[in-house]
Amino acid sequence: MYTDKVMDHFSNPRNVGQIDNPNVVVKVGDPGCGDAVLIFLKIENDIIVDIKYRVYGCGAAIATTSMASTLVKGKTLTDALEVTDERVAEALGGLPESKMHCSNLAATAIRAAVTRYLHPPEVKAGGEGSGN
């Protein structure tokens, strides 16, 4: 049911981990299935110079988060905002119909992180917080 690319990213997820001094951290979850992703961005001159994440989720959730991280690393914030769930799924050679919603998790998390970086919430300092 999963493509070889999905299985590859599931088995060897890219960019896993944490960034010590991130510019932004966001946690996004799918309350329906309990899956969650915690994403860290290091941004310099509107370019994502590093991305790390931790993910709790099904195979598709893990693989799409990994793929999404490779799609935005080294890209501008504008480019990152254009990473949609469809594009992530496409880059993985497709996902089963029942798993399409899983690709939402990573794309939403990246958009949320970039948005938070561009428009930080007023009260909180340090760019930390939980989105969604």
Binding site: C33, G34, L38, R54, V55, G57, C58, G59, A61, S98
Partner: protein, 386 residues
């Protein structure tokens, strides 16, 4: 890599004896049992032998066994066939909230057609409460359906007590015994159950064959209409090879049931102890004191069930999250939900189920491979405190 098959509640490999027994019915003995001639008679003899073998495993008479296409059909037949027969007496049915979908969806069908259904809740250990069963009984209750053992957690229900309640109130009692058959003793002479669903592919027989025990004197409307097969109660050309396979499996199991029960229970304990030693924070779902000898339902904190399944698959371990039927769908297990298992544990459950062929070496191999997979996925996952 060699596959370690720990998903015997989903389906089992054929018993070697079954393989040998069915082959002639695909080769030379291909007759239709409804035919009068020699090839037909030979097939008819084979199915009557198998009927006696299935009956013997549960203490029934051969005439009380009706062959079907599987557990799902047996459940549909038992429920909807009974509800049709009993319609003049009432349209209320009592079941549990943790039945297999074959029962639950038949119940929903009944509700859509104007019938009513009470779903008994279960406690945190997956058990029902007999007082709640008594309380649910109404004057128009015509059927109680409680599974013998749950497919996801292995929890065994108090079938003798439920049967006694049903008998006392004069209510028909059906039990889905698909997961109990061949794993724990079933004796319909001792337990006053009226209908019992059975399936072949859970006990080393082929897929696409099942049976319904219908106690003598229990009137039931046919569910598949047509030819005169099975005393007019179940039409359709007999699945002869499947029937022979189911009979052979029952016959093989009967003298070995107790010993296999103990062997698998011991293996399961090794398995659970070994996993706990490697992953201390693991939680077992379902009452461990009233459970099938072969079923271990575990939640691994911080790991999602499907992810763990895939990870195990990559190292050659076949396991399951939830029931096989629902593993294709994203929703959480309705069984664990009914038990009130909290969110994180709910989505991180995995079922390991043993079979007759499971060896100690396989358990040891699983224990060698599993911790690394768990470790990798935990290190990938969100810290517990976020």
């Amino acid at each position: 890599m060699d596959c370690l098959y720990f998903d015997n509640n989903a389906t089992t490999p054929l018993l070697p004896q079954v393989r040998d027994a069915i082959w002639p019915y695909f080769a030379e003995h291909f007759g239709n049992p409804a035919s009068l001639h020699q090839p037909g008679r030979r097939a008819r003899t084979a199915i009557e032998t198998a009927r006696a073998q299935v009956a013997a495993l549960i203490g029934a008479e051969p005439e009380e066994i009706i062959f079907t296409a599987g557990g799902t059909e047996s459940d549909n037949f038992a429920l909807l066939g009974s509800l049709e027969t009993l319609r003049p007496q009432g349209r209320h049915l009592i079941t549990t909230s943790v039945e297999h979908l074959a029962v639950l969806d038949s119940c929903r069908y009944h509700e859509r057609h104007g019938g009513s259904v009470s779903y008994l809740p279960v406690d945190a250990s997956g058990q029902i409460d007999l007082a709640e069963l008594e309380a649910a009984i109404r004057p128009d209750t015509v059927l109680i359906s409680v599974m013998w053992a749950n497919n996801e957690t292995g929890v065994l229900f108090p079938i003798d007590a439920v049967a006694a309640v049903a008998r006392r109130h004069g209510i028909r009692f059906h039990s889905d015994a698909v997961q109990a058959l061949g794993k724990v003793p079933i004796d319909v002479r001792r337990t006053p159950v009226d209908l019992l669903s059975l399936s072949g592919h859970k006990i080393g027989a082929p897929k696409g064959i099942g049976a319904l025990f219908v106690r003598r004197g229990t009137a039931i409307c046919p569910y598949l209409h047509g030819g005169h097969q099975e005393g007019g109660l179940r039409a359709g050309t007999h699945h002869v090879a499947g029937i022979v396979g189911m009979g052979t499996a029952c016959d093989w199991i009967r003298p070995r049931l107790c010993q296999e029960n103990e062997r698998q229970r011991a293996l399961l304990r090794q398995l659970e102890d070994g996993i706990r030693a490697a992953v201390p924070e693991v939680v077992r779902n379902g009452d461990p004191h009233s459970c099938l000898p072969n079923t271990l339902n575990l939640s691994f904190p911080q790991i999602e069930g499907e992810g763990l399944l895939l990870g195990l698959d990559l190292v050659g371990i076949a396991a399951s999250s939830g029931s096989a039927c629902t593993s294709g769908s994203a929703g959480a297990s309705h069984v664990l939900s009914a038990m009130g298992v909290p969110g994180a544990r709910l989505h991180s459950s995995v079922r390991l189920s043993l079979g007759y062929q499971t060896s100690e070496a396989e358990v040891a191999a699983l224990l060698q491979r599993l911790p690394a997979v768990v470790g990798r996925l935990q290190s990938l996952s969100l810290p517990a405190d976020v």
